[in-house]
Point group: C2
Chain length 482, copies 2
């Protein structure tokens, strides 16, 4: 044996026959770990297959299999007659410990009251895993290949079933297309309409700013239509050929579209041939009554219904759906196909199973109780601590609006709260030009546990009181409050 050639004991390698998994795999994993951790640096020698096999009492073939796998992975250099050496630099793996650059900024938020965050701690990991396991076991080989651009058929059926019974949507599975979420659905509709020369898309003012960017990026020009206490002003949609609305729970104002406006909106669509895009982002969460059925159910030929699992199940699952009128289905699917941005087949298989078992409904039901308690706490505490300010928005969804005397004060509160570790958003962040509605702060209660929410509210209320006090003492300084 050459003096340069180490032995198993030098490498702290051994095998345990009582463990599950083959001896060859154990060896391979130990060596890979040693190389990745830097214990075996690049250029270092390994025992020959013969020596290592003798050292740990296994057949030479066992060592050869492990070495070959590691050579194939690029960790080892094997040449006939030469001693095996480590090829990669151990530095590579140290990066795993590194944190992304923005980690620091995010960690300065102590309480996150931004409106888009649902509770992720309650994601039913066990039930989800069961759906992954069972759906994967049942999947046909073709389910794992390039699928239909419109989505897995079984999932389209389950989503149609769910939307019909839970949301009053009128949906045949053929009309349901699986997408990467609501913004993806909106981008696709925007592109379909733009190709038809219909490039004016009306939005509620205010409405989520992310949607405005997505629509513009899809070739649409934004038309602004104000929201009042009954929802969107249907008489002010103007020349737009489409309009994006959130009838069940307008974001961010929190109002529901009144029955009269629902009718007026449908009349607008029928009279002008316009398309209504119904963003049903959190309608499952209604606390004072049963959720209002989707607008789409009243006139499926004039409404595109879009929804997703982002707020209702978990954001990490990038999965949503669009229910389309006959006139749009083909172009929409073609757009999906030509961009090749399909949704994970694994997730589609699992979610179809998850829906079929009633797990989605069960989760929604549990979350509804949790969110209702949080909303009650928030509303009660704000009324106690800030009795002079009005809370608006129906008892639904994941946020309320605390009205403010002016946009300047709202912005000041937002900035000051952030500096104290409380992240909130303002209505102003979501307005389009010519906004003349109420000023307010959006408070999301989705992601904080009851004790954390209690502390967050107290910290936030102190901030509001401080800013309002300063504004009273020196109105001119408010805009500049840090």
């Amino acid at each position: 044996v050459s003096p340069r050639q180490p032995h198993a004991r030098d490498l702290l390698i051994g095998v345990d026959r009582s463990e599950s998994g083959s001896v060859s795999r154990q060896l391979e994993e130990q060596l890979r770990q040693a190389i990745r951790s830097g214990a075996l640096p690049a250029g270092s020698s390994l025992p020959s297959t013969r020596v290592l096999a003798e050292d740990i009492g296994v057949s030479r073939g066992v060592v050869t299999r492990a070495y070959t796998q590691l050579a194939f992975e690029g960790y080892l250099l094997l040449r006939k007659g030469a001693i095996p050496t480590v090829r990669t630099s151990s530095q590579l793996d140290r990066k795993r410990e590194a944190k992304p650059k923005n980690g620091d900024a995010a960690s300065r938020i102590r309480y996150d009251l931004r409106a888009h965050l649902p509770e992720v701690a309650s994601f039913p990991r066990k039930a989800w895993l069961r759906s992954v396991r069972d759906s994967l076991a049942r999947a046909r080989h073709t389910d794992l290949s390039y699928g239909d651009a419109a989505g897995l058929w079984e999932l389209r059926v389950e989503v149609a079933n769910y939307l019909v019974r839970a949301r009053g949507v009128s949906a045949e599975p053929e009309q349901v297309v699986i997408t990467g979420g609501s913004t993806h659905s909106l981008a696709l509709i925007g592109r379909v309409l733009a190709r038809r020369g219909k490039t004016q898309m009306a939005f509620e003012n205010p409405s989520h700013y992310i949607l405005h960017g997505v629509a513009e990026s899809a070739g649409q020009e934004i038309v602004s239509s104000p929201v009042d206490d009954e929802g969107i002003r249907t008489d002010l949609i103007g020349e737009a050929q489409s309009v994006v609305v959130s009838p069940a729970h307008q974001f961010p104002s929190g109002v529901a579209l009144s029955p009269i406006r629902r009718e007026l909106l449908l009349t607008w669509a029928r009279d002008t041939g316009g398309l209504i895009i119904e963003d049903d982002y959190d309608a499952e969460f209604r606390y004072d009554r049963a959720p209002i059925g989707a607008l789409q159910g009243l006139d499926p030929e004039h409404v595109v219904y879009i929804g997703s699992t982002g707020k209702t199940l978990v954001p990490a699952l990038r999965l949503g759906w669009a229910v389309l009128p006959e006139s749009v289905i083909e172009d929409f699917t073609l757009e999906l196909f030509s961009t090749m941005l399909h949704v994970s087949g694994m997730d589609q298989l699992a979610f179809a199973d998850f829906l079929r078992r009633g797990e989605f409904d069960r989760h929604l039901r549990q979350m509804r109780a949790i969110y209702r308690d949080r909303r009650d706490l928030l509303v009660t505490e704000l009324a106690n601590l800030l009795p002079g300010l009005r809370i608006s928005g129906i008892a639904a969804g994941l946020h309320v609006v605390l009205e403010m005397p002016s946009c300047e004060i709202a912005e000041s509160v937002c900035t000051r709260a952030r500096s104290r570790g409380v992240a909130v958003e303002t209505i102003s962040q979501h307005t389009l030009p010519k906004y003349n509605g109420r000023a307010g702060i959006i408070l999301g209660y989705g992601s904080l546990s009851m004790p954390a929410l209690q502390s967050a509210i107290e910290e936030f209320a102190r901030t509001v009181a401080d800013v309002m006090q300063e504004a009273t003492e020196d109105p001119a300084a408010v805009a500049g409050v840090p």
Copy 2:
């Protein structure tokens, strides 16, 4: 008890206490199944909670829990004092049995020799499931929330590690962005360049037609640059500001970019400030030697490297990556963020674990052996059965090219083969204007087992022989051969 109220035995409902899962869940599942199957049609009555609880010997609370869940799901109508009734129509669920419309057309293909299809039967479901299970168990709550648009940090580290050791790519995790696949990566780069006013993108002629559509859809104009036996003609890229190439194994011609051309291409990029987009779609599969390292490794500042798991693992996993030069990273990530088209967090977590365990490498190694055998069979049999025709392309990837005397004959063979249940593609389907290279048929051997491949080759060879015979007898009729 009212005569209208049925009993448990009428509904064939019972509970088994030896089974796992709560009694309430069993009851719920049996009732849901009965409603969905139509056994309990809409409008039919159920026993009251008291009656059913007595019938099956459980507490009333157990029945109430099951009923409430089903009411929440929209299956049951519960009103105080009234008998519970079934609400939904059973018709809904029958659709699950229905097949999508194009099912018939697809089933007429007996042998699928199209080039983009990898083997899905060998997808390691067990190892994948282990990665899903373990990564989900380990995941932090924040991993399940809205993540970094650029992808899960742990996965970016693992992908960087993999590409460095297996493909000779120069990659820090900060440069790696996770996308929905190669076409998604290309769409994003196309949009970034278009926003900078760089709207001329050169493509190899021939190259995959899907990529052309994606680039155009991203605002790029296609410039065609011919391919010869050494790969792309770098002197004919013209005024384009970017060029898409597949240096390791050009699609569809099957040639590798020669060392001289590699150097010339990099010189073009340095001289003009142009961007090379390296599509490394199947480079891991090389059968005659170790895979050639990526072009990107030679000049990371001028090359965007894109890859995916579509050919190498399984198409259903819509997951890929781009390794970006410093000059592109920010805009690319911004484009991803503004379209909100992120990749499934579930898949990212699982794939990071899968890579870390060496399962991806193990799978590639197994597939390499399988594909090598299939390629050998295809090449040997074609040489036997069609001795007059040349097979071109290096020993790599998932396809070979069978050269044809003319594009017309190639098209006729393709059409005729399809009518006999054998799906193949032609080079012509992937050409850009002004193509003057070889005519040929692309034969993909990725998805067929050895016996199926043997039969497919025989059927295909007979078709070629028939068409060539007819062409000799009546050259004018070839274009019209059905």
